[in-house]
């Protein structure tokens, strides 16, 4: 899986994984997040609008990315989640830690 990265005017880096976010593809997402943090980015958003299915490994990649981002003094937020991802977040109660935003632009509107 390829992760196109774009940058919003306020400096937020947006990752856009596509397809299935599972055991096969979650490693690449982790690496992309690590790469952005190492390049000095602190405010990251995963735009999940193109992700059709996310399993526990995909969720694990987001949790790991969030941990890394916070350790680096930054944050990882998620946006544009579909029904299936929303259900995974609800079942695991992880929406409390990773609340989904409507659009990537809205993820850091509070800061």
């Amino acid at each position: 899986m390829d992760f196109p990265v774009s940058h919003l005017p306020d400096g937020v880096a947006v990752l856009r994984p596509a397809g299935k976010l599972n055991m096969v593809s979650s490693g690449a997402l982790r690496e992309a997040i690590t790469g952005l943090l190492e390049a000095g980015h602190r405010r990251l958003v995963a735009d999940l609008s193109e992700v059709t299915f996310m399993d526990s490994s995909g969720l694990g990649a987001l949790i790991g990315g969030l941990k890394s981002a916070r350790q680096a003094g930054g944050d990882l937020r998620i946006a544009a989640v579909g029904e299936q991802i929303r259900m995974v977040l609800q079942l695991t109660n992880m929406e409390r830690v990773l609340p989904p935003f409507e659009r990537p632009e809205a993820a850091y509107a509070d800061v």
């Binding site: 055991m23 982790r30 299915f53 399993d55 526990s56 490994s57 969720l59 694990g60 949790i63 790991g64 941990k67 029904e83 299936q84 259900m87 609800q90 079942l91 695991t92 109660n93 992880m94 409390r96 830690v97």
Partner: protein, 408 residues
């Protein structure tokens, strides 16, 4: 039999051969490769060998007691069924490749009955296949009805392919043994808690599962756990075995929340190091009252299907273990009345159905449709998923037996 100086019996060469054959036969039996029908992982190898070596006839044969089993073949070539007629049996007597350029010119083969048929093997090259402990249990061979050249490079390819088959056998054997150990860790019956029955199933998508279920007696009743480690396969299975042991070690705590918090503390570094997390349902049953206190750590897939026709999805309020935030787990309570069924499933059940929470309606329907026995309910719920579930699948059922009417 020879007698040694000290009076002990020494083995004659004939006995040595018999003992060696016993060891070889046992190694073959342990691999459990016989009588399983066509096996795609072998067929893939023989197909590739045929293409690489330019032979139509390629086979993998195993030598079992007095007969030969053909585990894979690329053509309808006839291979000996009696071991005494088998070329591969000669091949496994040596460590290197056996090349028979023309069987009619070879004293070992020219009387072979198969040579009298049109499909008889004039040319044969076979390389032994060894079991993980080095016993030569079979061979991979190429053959033709006419003599053919077989050069050093082809011999090297055949040897490499034989090694590939060996690696497949070793890996399969290891997976099978791991699966046996893991299934052995699952509880069998809930004999100690009268008035209740429990059953479960844990069906891995690969050899071993990242889910598990467990129960064991605790003071005044029993404890139950269903947990699901992130991912699947061996990495998830290693984590799930660690979680199981840690949860059991916490069973001395009276409260379920204390047990989960203690386990979460103990597991934190391991889960962090492995970059993984675990969802978990953990409950204590009080035998006399039917009160079930539980913690749901991000699992969310537990139902109570009641005898009065209602049902209830148990609240899931806690985060999974290993997500790294200071999490507290709230203890909830639910009463199991006579005839009620608690059913907890892993998300493999969801994935196998439509992937949404609507699947839980189907789970409830399966519970009600099954015979009122824990084992039958487990079978019905697991059956929803069909034989090709995309994820590990685990079902745990606890059923309180219907009450006996007083003064009946």
């Amino acid at each position: 039999m020879l007698t040694g100086i000290d009076g002990t019996k020494a083995l004659t060469p004939v006995h040595h051969d018999a003992v060696a054959e016993l060891a070889r036969q046992r190694a073959l039996d342990e691999l459990k490769v016989l009588g399983t029908g066509p096996v795609e992982r072998f067929d893939r190898i023989t197909r590739m060998a045929a293409r690489l070596l330019g032979f139509e006839h390629v086979a993998i044969n195993f030598l079992d007691h007095d007969r030969q089993w053909t585990a894979s073949r690329t053509s309808d070539a006839v291979y000996a069924e009696r071991r005494e007629d088998s070329y591969c049996d000669v091949a496994i007597q040596q460590t290197g490749t056996l090349v028979v350029p023309d069987a009619l010119l070879d004293a070992r083969f020219r009387d072979n009955p198969l040579l009298e048929t049109p499909a008889g093997m004039r040319f044969y090259a076979g390389h032994p296949i060894a079991s993980p402990n080095g016993e030569r249990v079979g061979a991979i061979c190429v053959s033709d009805t006419v003599p053919r050249p077989f050069g050093a490079e082809q011999q090297t390819i055949l040897r490499d392919i034989a090694t590939w088959v060996q690696d497949e056998l070793a890996l399969t054997r290891e997976f099978a043994a791991s699966a046996e150990v893991q299934q052995g860790l699952l509880p069998k019956t809930l004999a100690t808690v009268e008035g209740y029955e429990a059953a479960g199933v844990c069906r891995p998508v690969h050899a071993v599962s990242g889910d598990f279920y467990d129960w064991y007696p605790v003071r005044g009743g029993a404890a139950f756990t269903l947990a699901d480690a992130m991912g699947k396969g061996v990495p998830a299975a290693l984590i799930s075995a660690t979680v199981r042991a840690t949860m059991r070690a916490g069973s001395r705590y009276d409260g379920v929340a204390a047990a989960v918090e203690s386990a979460a503390d103990a597991l934190e570094a391991d889960l962090e190091g492995a970059a993984t997390f675990v969802t978990l349902f953990h409950a204590h049953l009080k035998q006399d009252t039917g009160m079930l206190s539980y913690v749901d750590a991000g699992h969310g897939l537990t139902l109570v299907v009641r005898a009065d026709g209602t049902s209830q999805r148990l609240a899931s309020t806690g985060l999974p273990l290993g997500v790294g935030w200071d999490a507290a787990w709230d203890e909830e309570e639910v009463e199991l009345r006579h005839g009620d069924v608690l059913v907890s499933v892993s998300d493999g059940v969801l994935d196998a159905l439509d992937g949404t929470l609507e699947s839980l309606v189907m789970v409830e329907r399966a519970v009600r449709g099954a015979a009122p026995k824990a084992a039958a309910i487990v079978e019905a719920v697991a059956g929803l998923a069909g034989p090709t579930a995309p994820d590990d699948l685990t079902v745990l059922v606890l059923r309180r037996l219907p009450g006996v009417p007083l003064g009946g």
